[in-house]
Symmetry: C2
Subunit: 212 residues, 2 copies
Amino acid sequence: MTGPVFDTAFRDALEQLLTWRRDVRHFQTRPLPDGLLDSLIEIACRGPSVGNAQPWRFVRIVSPERRAALIASVDAHKHAAGEPYCGDRKALYARLKLHGLREAPEIVAVFCDAETEAGHGLGRATMPETLCWSVVTAVHTLWLAARAHGVGLGWVSIIDPASMNALIDVPAHWRFVALLCLGYPERESETPELVRHGWQDRLPFETTRLER
Amino acid sequence: MTGPVFDTAFRDALEQLLTWRRDVRHFQTRPLPDGLLDSLIEIACRGPSVGNAQPWRFVRIVSPERRAALIASVDAHKHAAGEPYCGDRKALYARLKLHGLREAPEIVAVFCDAETEAGHGLGRATMPETLCWSVVTAVHTLWLAARAHGVGLGWVSIIDPASMNALIDVPAHWRFVALLCLGYPERESETPELVRHGWQDRLPFETTRLER
């Protein structure tokens, strides 16, 4: 079997996609086209998973009451997580917008089915955390597929993961991984918002690449 | 600032990339072109990270002694991890090739700098594991960028993570995430090897997508 050959034009565009991906916190409220979210989730399910366990569980939040409860929870945690900062950084933290849960037309909670029998345990005898990591790559796949449609994604992580199963009404043995906002971004940028606001610059390549 | 607009042709090719990605265990021994690995790692560094912490540390393994030690370790763990299987599944497990550490022209170990000050803790007050997950998305970015160049990647996870820092000679506080084989694949397929060998089929979409 011969696979597709990707040319320079595709690789350049892929690099653009990765460069302009962004974690989006500023969304337009206009809805996504019918069916788009499901087709993005289907593509996300082609992400790699340890032992082919496919432990990802995507939950589209449709209840306005659930959305309100999520907003209240994240806002409270954002406030608490800001306590340790001092001075200029505290002021900068207060100005950062960390989620678009109010505006984004779609919210998706993502879990890992930690007791799935799929995959028969293959590949995770010594590193059980790879099951959860498979869900992380599925989220990243969703992110890239969305961006290719002009749709932005924001990953909200300032939340109490233990409270999410009850709030979203999913089995207790599922492990919460991510709360995602999806929608058309208010603006585009090739520079991360945290770089633009002076929170954290890019690191030099030498820091991240070694030889042994 | 206006970002790039991705057209249907690009989206189709991206879907092909995701569909044909594969976890590769059968490699040709011919080397990668000079500089390609570094440019793939540079692209991987554009992956998302919590608080823009960029905690990924990529270590290219150049020492033949280190490669031999890694092979010995993974082979021993592969054997031990097969103990619990019985009957047909045990026989199938024994036949599965789980790594290409001998043949692959490049081996890269990936760690998470768990004590990095970059990012100033942002976004991980309630879910510290998101730091490590940032490294997972960087590995996935590397995977896709490699595949766009026709280069396959295999993620080896049957290894004792605690032994890796000494074996590879990196700081003790770095957390081991992945051992990667990279090279041109011996064959291409749009079907995961574990599906082809009858280990684990794809799950139905209804299992992985819910509404609440």
